[in-house]
C-alpha cells in the first residue's frame, strides 16, 4: 500500500487512505518515444498478470474534446490554455487515476503535471502559479524521465519518422524563430532546460533515451519491477545480451518485406 501524498493542498473532500495500486509517470519532451514505451510496458505488465490502465494529457471526458478543438483553432490565450489543461488533468485524476489506484491498478501515465508546468514556464507564465494549479496532484510512485541528448537528435527523429513539424510541438505560438525548424529548435531547447531543472525538484528517475528502443525498454522494465515488486529476487542484468535479444524479439512488430530484385 502506498500513502497518498499531494504536492500541495490535498483535495479536501476525498478519501486519503493509502492505495494498493502504483502510479507510474513517463515524462519527456515531444518525440522521445513515450507512447512506444508505455504500450510496451503495458503489454509486458499485463502478460505478468497485472491490471494496467493508461492515460495521458488531453484525454479526459470532460475537457479532452474541447482542448483538441481549441488547439486546432489556436483560439485561446496563454493563461486560459493552462487552466484548460489543469481542468483536463483534474478530471482524469479524480475520475480515472484515483479510482484505478484504489482498485489496485498499475496506472501508466503519458506525461503528468511536469509537462504542463514546463510548457507554461517557457511561455513566461509565473512558475509559482503554474505549480499552484497542480497543488492537488498526488505524488506518483515513480517518474521516469526519458531524456534526449540534444534537440538536434529530436529533429532527426522527427524527420525520419515522417511526422514532420507540428504547430504546438514547434512552439509556433511563441514566435521564436523564422520558420518551423528554427522555432522547434528554440522551443524544445527551452523545454529541455526546464525539464532538467525540474529533474531535481521532483526527483525524476532519468533514463537516457538517446539509445536503442530495446535498451531504454530494458531500463524501464528493470526500474518498474523494482517498484512493483520490492521483494523480488535479483534479476539478471537488464542489459545482458540475452535480455536485449529477447526484447528485440518482443518489440519487433513485423519483419520488413524485402523488395523483389528487379529482373
Amino acid at each position: 500500500m502506498a500513502e497518498m501524498n499531494f504536492y500541495g493542498t490535498p483535495l479536501p473532500y476525498i478519501d486519503h487512505k493509502p492505495y494498493p495500486g502504483k502510479l507510474i509517470v513517463i515524462e519527456g519532451t515531444d518525440g522521445v518515444g513515450r507512447s512506444t514505451h508505455i504500450a510496451e510496458l503495458r503489454a509486458w505488465l499485463e502478460a505478468q498478470g497485472h491490471a494496467v490502465s493508461d492515460t495521458g494529457m488531453a484525454r479526459s471526458d470532460l475537457a479532452g474534446k474541447g482542448l483538441k478543438e481549441a488547439k486546432l483553432g489556436h483560439t485561446l490565450g496563454r493563461l486560459t490554455m493552462q487552466l484548460f489543461y489543469a481542468t483536463d488533468f483534474a478530471d482524469r485524476l479524480e475520475n480515472e487515476i484515483l479510482p484505478a489506484l484504489r482498485a489496485g491498478f498499475i496506472v501508466l501515465t503519458d506525461r503528468y503535471i511536469y509537462s504542463a508546468i514546463a510548457r507554461a514556464v517557457v511561455r513566461d507564465i509565473d512558475p509559482d502559479w503554474a505549480r499552484a494549479l497542480y497543488d492537488f496532484a498526488i505524488v506518483p510512485d515513480a517518474i521516469f524521465y526519458l531524456k534526449i541528448k540534444s534537440v538536434n537528435e529530436l529533429v532527426m527523429r522527427l524527420i525520419s519518422s515522417g511526422r514532420g513539424f507540428d504547430y504546438w510541438e514547434s512552439g509556433m505560438d511563441l514566435s521564436l524563430g523564422e520558420d518551423f525548424y528554427e522555432s522547434f529548435v528554440l522551443y524544445q531547447s527551452r523545454l529541455l532546460e526546464e525539464f532538467n531543472r525540474m529533474s531535481l525538484e521532483y526527483g525524476f528517475h532519468t533514463i537516457n533515451a538517446s539509445r536503442s528502443v530495446a535498451r531504454v525498454s530494458a531500463d524501464l522494465r528493470r526500474a518498474v519491477t523494482a517498484i512493483i515488486e520490492p521483494m523480488a529476487p535479483a534479476l539478471e542484468p537488464a542489459d545482458s545480451p540475452e535480455v536485449i535479444a529477447r526484447l528485440r524479439q518482443d518489440l519487433t512488430v513485423k519483419p520488413k518485406k524485402r523488395k523483389k530484385p528487379a529482373l
Binding site: 493542498t9 479536501p12 473532500y13 470532460l62 486560459t80 487552466l83 489543469a86 481542468t87 499552484a132 497543488d135
Partner: protein
C-alpha cells in the same frame, strides 16, 4: 500577473451577490447610463465563452463534475474572459463592467468543498477591480425573488450535488445561505463595497453612481 498589480488606463467595476440580489439589474442600469453619458464602456458576463459554455452544458447534463473540475472549468472561462474581454478594453482606456467576478468563484467553490487558499491562488492573475460592489440581500428576499415564476430549480443551481437535502428547494436555501456566509467573510478580506439590496432600485442605483463618479474623471 498578480492580483492588485495590474495598472491600466481603464476602470473595472464589478458586481457580486447571491442569485436574486438584483445585481444584474443594477449593472444594466449603470451600463445604460454610462453609455448615454458618452463613456466608452464594455460589458462582460460570467460564463460567456462559447467553448466553455458547450463543455459546461454537456457536463452538467451528465453530472460529471467534481468540486475541483467545476472550479477549474470556471477558472478557464474566467481566464478567457480576462484575456479577451477585460484586459484589452482596460488597456485601451475603457470602462469595463463585469457581472460576477472572482469572488463568485471564491464563494461557490469553497462552499462546494475546495480549499479556500487554493482557489484564491488559482485566480491570482485576475485584474483587481476599481470598485467591487457586493449587493447584499437578506436570504429570504433573494430566495423569494428566484423562486417566483420558476417551477423547477436546476441541479447545480440548487446545490443538489452537495447532498445537503433531497428536496431541491430546501437544498437551494441551505446552499445560498452558505454562499452568503462566504461573501460576508470576503467583505473585509477584499474590501467589498456593500450595497443594501433591500432598498429601492432607484436608491441603489443612485448610490452606485455616486461611488463610481470620482473614478470617472478624464475618462470620456
Amino acid at each position: 500577473m498578480v492580483y492588485g498589480e495590474h495598472e491600466f488606463a481603464g476602470k473595472l467595476f464589478v458586481v457580486e451577490g447571491t442569485d436574486g440580489s438584483g445585481k444584474s439589474t443594477q449593472l444594466g442600469l449603470l451600463y445604460q447610463w454610462l453609455k448615454a453619458e458618452g463613456y466608452p464602456v464594455f460589458f462582460s458576463e460570467w460564463n460567456s465563452s462559447p467553448l466553455v459554455r458547450e463543455i459546461t452544458k454537456r457536463a452538467k447534463k451528465r453530472t460529471l463534475f467534481t468540486p475541483t473540475t467545476f472550479s477549474l472549468l470556471h477558472a478557464t472561462d474566467f481566464a478567457d474572459r480576462t484575456e479577451r474581454d477585460i484586459i484589452p478594453p482596460l488597456k485601451a482606456g475603457a470602462i469595463v463592467l463585469a457581472d460576477r467576478y472572482i469572488y463568485t468563484a471564491f464563494a461557490r467553490d469553497v462552499v462546494r468543498g475546495c480549499d479556500p487558499e487554493w482557489v484564491r491562488k488559482i485566480y491570482r492573475f485576475a485584474v483587481k477591480p476599481t470598485v467591487r460592489f457586493f449587493f447584499r440581500a437578506p436570504l429570504e428576499v433573494a430566495i423569494e425573488r428566484i423562486l417566483i415564476g420558476r417551477p423547477e430549480l436546476k441541479y447545480y443551481e440548487a446545490g443538489m450535488d452537495m447532498g445537503l437535502s433531497d428536496d431541491p428547494e430546501e437544498s437551494f436555501k441551505l446552499f445560498q445561505g452558505r454562499i452568503l456566509d462566504e461573501y460576508d467573510k470576503m467583505v473585509p478580506e477584499f474590501g467589498l463595497t456593500v450595497i443594501d439590496a433591500s432598498r429601492s432600485i432607484i436608491q441603489q442605483q443612485h448610490q452606485m453612481r455616486r461611488i463610481i463618479l470620482p473614478h470617472l474623471k478624464d475618462m470620456k
